[in-house]
């Protein structure tokens, strides 16, 4: 799948117009690959009357069959045998159900230049060693969640001197210990190396509030950064305004707003979205975003709010070419941002709130041979 590598090894990470042709070509090849190797995906395309030849221009992307992420939570689809995959990763399963997604070696090869290029572009890469405080899960062989691997991976943007985790395995279950993190941060204040705090925004918020309660205010060494990934998850109801969070970061940890990076991505769409200096998620050349009418799934013009459809030809182990999240969001033209990046940026407004409770009717279907009930 050379067309994919050609796209991902392009140097200009936000040149959407310049990469359109390569993107469409890679999508066409990706779609054809899944149709050939995944009978389920082939059946979907056949039923919906779609064939990859229809992909000629960037406008044609909206015709690719869209698979809701909810679908991957109920059914695992693969386009290659498991022994050929580099790894299998699960979503974090906030609602108790998780997607199972395979990663192929070609995907890893394509992700490398994406992560390095964007890492440089957004000042994540530094030769200066740093201590890492991870407000997330400590990796363990029983933990296959994508976010755990991502956070561990993020510690490598600078040579890691140490790693302190907020969530550690105790008797087989993850237990948060924010006090230990607060104590570690207090000690790191005196280090001659910067600190990188990597983690879920909700844990940062709770952690900073805890430090405030303890009357702990520190100034981490110059060059320290905050890298936020994974969203608010089950703490979504406590989500706070970004400005409030940044102000608290400044007052409790002494890290300026400019040193806060936010990341966005999904196991089903592992494109490395970064915030610009104005805290906007511009779309890099590796993905395209279509906003769809929440009532009809028709694509909507720029600026209108709808369901977020993410498209990328990155994966060949699982047919995640075009996935529909349950997030509502909208696109804004890049020139409205002012940071200099011209590609449009995506604003996520939050989940549509798929009610994740087990329903009594759904339960009854379990023994009726429906397989993975939900």
């Amino acid at each position: 799948m050379l067309s994919r590598q050609r796209l991902f090894w392009r140097p200009k990470t936000y040149d959407l117009l310049g990469s359109d042709k390569a993107f469409v070509r890679a999508c066409r090849d990706n779609c054809a690959y899944h149709i050939k190797h995944c009978p389920g995906y082939a059946a979907i395309c056949r039923h919906l009357g779609f064939s990859p030849d229809r992909l000629q221009t960037i406008e044609d992307l909206s015709a690719i069959p869209v698979i809701p992420t909810l679908f991957f939570k109920r059914k695992a689809l693969f386009s290659m045998p498991q022994w050929r995959m580099a790894m299998k990763v699960t979503s974090s399963g906030t609602s108790g159900k998780y997607s199972r997604i395979g990663f192929d070696w070609g995907c890893i090869l394509a992700e490398a230049p994406m992560v390095v290029n964007l890492g440089f572009r957004h000042h994540l890469v530094s030769p200066k060693p740093a201590h890492c405080v991870i407000l997330g899960y400590k990796p363990h062989k029983s933990n296959h969640t994508g976010v755990t691997r991502t956070m561990f991976g993020l510690t490598h943007f600078s040579p890691p001197l140490s790693r302190t985790y907020a969530l550690n395995l105790v008797d087989g279950a993850y237990v948060p210990d924010l006090d230990a993190v607060a104590e570690a941060l207090r000690k790191l204040e005196r280090s001659s190396f910067p600190t990188r705090v990597i983690g879920f925004p909700s844990y940062l918020w709770f952690g900073l509030q805890r430090m405030e309660e303890l009357g702990l205010r520190i100034t981490l060494p110059k060059g320290s950064r905050i890298i936020l990934a994974g969203g608010w998850k089950q703490h979504a109801d406590q989500e706070v305004d970004k400005k409030t969070l940044y102000a608290l970061v400044k007052s409790v940890l002494g890290i300026p707003e400019g040193n806060i990076n936010e990341l966005f991505g999904a196991v089903e769409h592992p494109v490395f979205y970064n915030t610009c200096e104005k805290h906007h998620f511009h779309i890099p050349i590796y993905g395209r975003v279509i906003i769809r009418d929440p009532d009809t799934l028709e694509s909507l013009p720029t600026g209108q709010v709808g369901l977020v459809n993410l498209i990328s030809p990155l994966m060949t182990a699982t047919p995640t070419l075009s996935v529909m999240t349950d997030d509502l969001g909208y696109l804004t033209p890049g020139d409205k941002c002012g940071c200099g990046i011209q590609s449009p940026y995506l604003t996520i407004l939050g989940r549509v709130g798929m009610r994740d409770i087990q329903t009594c009717a759904a339960g009854a279907a379990e023994l009726l041979g429906k397989g993975d009930a939900f």
């Binding site: 059914k75 369901l307 549509v352 087990q358 009594c360 759904a362 009854a364 379990e366 429906k370």
Partner: protein, 420 residues
């Protein structure tokens, strides 16, 4: 959190509480019997305070958006509870019954372990209340995702009537804590399980031999259409029911069966129903509901395609809802959220088809001409349904109705025959 004998305790004290439970429970059971009147008075007083808005702030904290306790509030009045007791247990629910050589005395089963459902806020408390009314000690395993509503409600109840405290224990216990669950089950005379087949099978493996199993499993419901009394009003009521319940309740309509064998009639019905469904869907608040409907519908469609079941079906999509005309005749779960299945099921095949789902049938919302209602009602009853209603009232609560064809309170009691 744990609720034990009127106190809220941290989860870290769970083992300790469970270890001391047997002694505590035995002590209560040796004491005077808990009178139903004590429970009724407490619930009635609390219901009045709830209805008066005294706890609105507390409820707002625990209830999911768009969910209210309006359906539960009427159940918390003296009249309703007394009517329930009378309907299920007769005019003198706990009175002795004399026989020529014995007297039959009604006693509580003893200790009930409730494995409570998570699909409707308030139900964990409701099942515990049924246990209390019959004088049992109640151990409650709260559902995953209970954000504190049940614990708050139990605390209020005990504050209202401190004598109830020793009869109520609740544990926020993950299902994987098998050891602790088994310890609780070992204390129980009855295991009351609500939930999916998986939950029920799991609970059966917990219960020691000799522990009575009381199972309230998940059910499926449907509408049966065979002519109309007032077509527009009946289709409109059915559409409103489908949208308002999100097809998430045991009593929610999953499939609309038509009393016909003609595919063209099926198509005409779907075209007729769609505008009503669309209108009901447009009344849902917020943008999220429509999106949920579309995502659910799309996901289910892709599943059917992959399973090779989408062939021959006709899809009628609309804004935030859809009607799916399917060529088979099985009662099955719909994609929910306003995506309803329509199937042809001629009257002659009704019983044989529905018998395949025995034990899972609950409500039939019957839409038909007045002259055929009696015969169709009899047929549906014979097929195994436990509720037969009009389309609008499929999920309505009726005074005195049974629970899936049974009287729960009766199952929480036992009879002791005493020789004179």
């Amino acid at each position: 959190m744990i609720f034990a004998n009127g106190k809220l305790l941290p989860d870290s004290r769970r083992r300790e509480v469970i270890a001391d439970l047997e002694t505590a429970v035995n002590e209560v059971r040796m004491g005077p019997r808990l009178e139903a009147e004590t429970v009724i008075a407490a619930v009635d007083a609390l219901g009045k305070r709830l209805a008066g808005g005294e706890f609105d702030q507390l409820l707002a904290q625990f209830l999911p958006a768009n969910v209210t306790l309006d359906d539960l509030l009427p159940l918390l009045s003296r009249e309703t509870i007394e009517a329930k007791l009378a309907a299920e247990l007769g005019p003198d629910p706990f009175g002795d019954r004399p026989f020529p050589r014995t007297t039959a005395r009604v006693l509580p089963l003893g200790t009930l372990l409730h494995i409570a459902p998570g699909n409707m806020p308030g139900l964990p408390v409701y099942t515990a209340l049924e246990g209390l009314l019959t004088g049992n000690v109640n151990l409650l395993k709260l559902p995953h995702g209970d954000k504190g509503l049940s614990l708050a409600a139990l605390r209020l109840l005990v504050e209202q009537e401190p004598r109830l405290a020793p009869y109520l224990y609740a544990f926020d216990l993950p299902s994987k804590e098998q050891g602790d669950l088994k310890a609780l089950a070992a204390l129980a005379d009855g295991l009351v399980t609500w939930g999916s087949d998986r939950a029920i099978l799991a609970a059966r493996s917990l219960a020691p031999a000799g522990c009575k199993l009381i199972e309230w499993g998940h059910r499926l419901s449907f509408a049966y259409v065979s002519g109309y009394e007032d077509k527009s009003s009946e289709l409109s009521s059915l559409a409103a029911h489908i949208i308002e319940t999100g097809q998430r309740l045991c009593s929610s309509c999953q499939v609309i069966f038509l009393n016909t064998d003609r595919w063209e009639e099926g198509k005409a019905f779907c075209r007729d129903l769609l505008p009503y469904l669309e209108k009901a869907a447009s009344l849902r608040p917020g943008r999220g509901a429509g999106a949920q409907a579309v995502l659910s519908g799309q996901t289910a469609l892709l599943e059917r395609i992959i399973e090779g079941r989408a062939k021959g079906e006709v899809l009628y999509p609309s804004k935030g809802c859809s009607v799916i005309l399917r060529p088979d005749r099985e009662l099955e779960l719909s994609p929910m959220e306003g995506n309803v299945l329509v199937k042809l099921l001629p009257q002659e095949e009704l019983l044989s088809t529905l018998r395949r789902q025995k034990g899972r049938l609950q409500t039939a919302g019957l839409i038909c001409s007045p002259e055929s209602r009696e015969a169709l009602t009899a047929l549906l009853s014979q097929a195994g349904l436990t509720r037969i209603t009009r389309a609008a009232a499929m999920s309505a609560a009726f005074p005195g109705e049974s629970h899936d064809g049974e009287s729960p309170l009766r199952r929480y009691l036992r009879i002791v025959d005493i020789e004179s």
